[in-house]
Symmetry: C2
Subunit: 128 residues, 2 copies
């Protein structure tokens, strides 16, 4: 099932935070904020839309667990949760990973829009 050339089929042990039977969590190698974490299914599957109910439940459980941990460790003021599904959406590693990005008050002049910033020309809807 594993893909020999896939980064997320063989994550270095020191990057793994929670090592579950169906999914794992790991530090992002290029964190955009303190605590930036990835939730990754063990099975080599590229798209969220191809995951099973069991995989989804396991990933959401880990998402909850990481949120609880990060709240304690870093006390962020919010979170973005996000998936890039396909190269056109910015996916570079073709093994599904859910980003859990802690956000901190003042980490950006105006955080409004959040995940809308995947398309920056359209993100600032309030500027019409």
């Amino acid at each position: 099932m594993a893909n020999d050339t896939c980064l997320f089929c063989r994550i270095p042990r020191e990057q793994i935070l929670i090592d579950g039977p169906i999914a794992v969590t790991a530090r992002d190698s290029y964190p955009v904020s303190k605590g930036h974490t990835l939730i990754i299914p063990r099975r080599h599957v590229a798209s969220f839309f191809e995951t099973t109910d069991e995989e989804r439940q396991a990933m959401l459980k880990l998402l909850d667990e990481m949120k609880t941990r990060l709240d304690l460790e870093h006390k962020p003021d919010g979170y973005n949760i996000g998936i890039n599904n396909g190269p056109a959406a910015g996916q570079t590693v073709m093994h599904l990973h859910i980003h859990l990005i802690p956000r901190y008050a003042g980490d950006r002049v105006d955080p409004k829009g959040g995940v809308r910033w995947v398309l920056p020309d359209k993100a600032a809807y309030w500027k019409g």
Copy 2:
């Protein structure tokens, strides 16, 4: 349960795409791309982390259904799925909504990074 002042507790009927018992889907009022859709629980709850398993299952089912519809209608090349959880993460309507953002080849010079663009100064990890 509904909040009289909440936009997503009373979505105009013409914006609703799928009207489910536990969650609904609606067009985003300020779409960043063709087909930009929101998945919204009926219950007035701000955070994804406060949702029940039943709500999560209902929302993910609608996410799948909308993806199937959008594939047929607009044939996008990818999707971003994203949540802004808390004002520090860009949330402005304090009623949970999952963004399903269709992406099209060429809609941005370089789509790489995807949801990392919530923090633009750190997003372009490949530029070190």
